[in-house]
Amino acid sequence: MILIDVLPIALLGALLGLDVVTFPQAMISRPIVAATAAGAFIGHPVAGLTIGGILELMALGMLPFGASKYPEWGSASVVGGALYASQMGDPPGALAVSVLAGLVTAVASGWSMVRLRRLIASRAATERAALDAGSSSAIIGLQLFGLTADFVRGGAVTFIAMLLFRPAVGAVVARWTSDATFSRAVVVTVGAAVAAGAIWKIFHSVPLARLLFLGGLVAGVTLLVMR
């Protein structure tokens, strides 16, 4: 993959990575949106949606409370979506290894967010006198610095991840030995189990939560059978 192919994906990763915390937090960074957008960028929105659905299941339990440290799904979903959508003909293993690459990117990107927050804190420390004096230019400048740095961070993470994982995904898929259906089943089972655990953790205090979930499950299975 030549650099010029990666740049538009990196730009998308920068924009959607920005949405996670800094601007505008409209959740365009959620996996089901970001991966679909990346897939559409490559020309295969359905592939993007498929991997986005799996990553969304895995992201359900990640609640960005306060100063907690968590994976960054925006740029990561762009990477996962672009990698999977660029595998022509959906070869066996492409979904599994693309999801794995997305997860690894999410962890790395989460780490980069922590570094960025420390960088902003040190910048604020150098501007302390101006901030304490109520300088509007210092306050607005710090805000713009944070926004710009986060944009660059998301773009850099996406760019590096694409450069690393694009050849790696191709190499893994070429040596893949497991059955295609079984491979997809493993990936979606892992995603669904993570989602089920997350839903229980989040909503277990709701009265009758277990019954409501079972009721929904019956409805879901009925819909599946009737199709």
Partner: protein
Amino acid sequence: MTSASVSNTGAGAATPGRLPFSTWMRIYLRLFAVQGAWNYESLLGNGIAFCMEPALRLLPGGRGGQQYARALARHARYFNAHPYFAGFAVGAFARAELDGVPPDLIERFRTALGGPLGSVGDRLVWASWLPLCSLVALTAFGLDARPLSVVAIFLVLYNFGHLSLRAWGLRVGFEKGLRVADALGNPLLRRGPQYVGAVAAVLAGIAIPLAADRVIGAGRATAAEVTVIAIVGGVLLSRFGERAEGWRLALAILALFVIYSVVG
């Protein structure tokens, strides 16, 4: 969106007694970037000052005046809140500053307000509204909706709540001023998470088998097997509680599976 009224007599603004609409809009738009300089030292502090700045221009002396600078400095210090609930704080602080509330009272008010705005917001948005909207989108995905439809359903639904909450928070914050905490007793905020949780529990049951079927695309039997294994896995994960974060386990299992599938 209407501009909120203000009883401040010292606000030397273009429209006495009212917060001008352009000021209101500037603050509202800035709220979307309230976390732009989020850091481990002052958390949301700089963002709060950034958002309030258009309102503080209405203080006697205007932009660059002594009151303006002191108020900005006061609000650029440490503050924590849920980002969507920051509007409550920004509105209330702006009102307090424009009403000429003494600085030490504003400091105490800031200290008292942060905690509730964080906990109510986390419970309502991160632990209720966002998972619910994700599950609606996953259900649409499982029902074979097209990519654009799934994305549109999620974004329109989620942002209806998001944009409304930010606007309502700013309006109520400015209207109530120092009494803004009363607004947090709103039934929607207190009981909302429970109702949302009930709907989300039902939707989770519907979404999981349907989404599994769509991804696998190999018939109902496989989807049913996947669903059963996933539910068992989910129960185990919830039993391990805090010790096992789902995505970490997913990462480990998938890494092992990829190695097995390449080497095996």
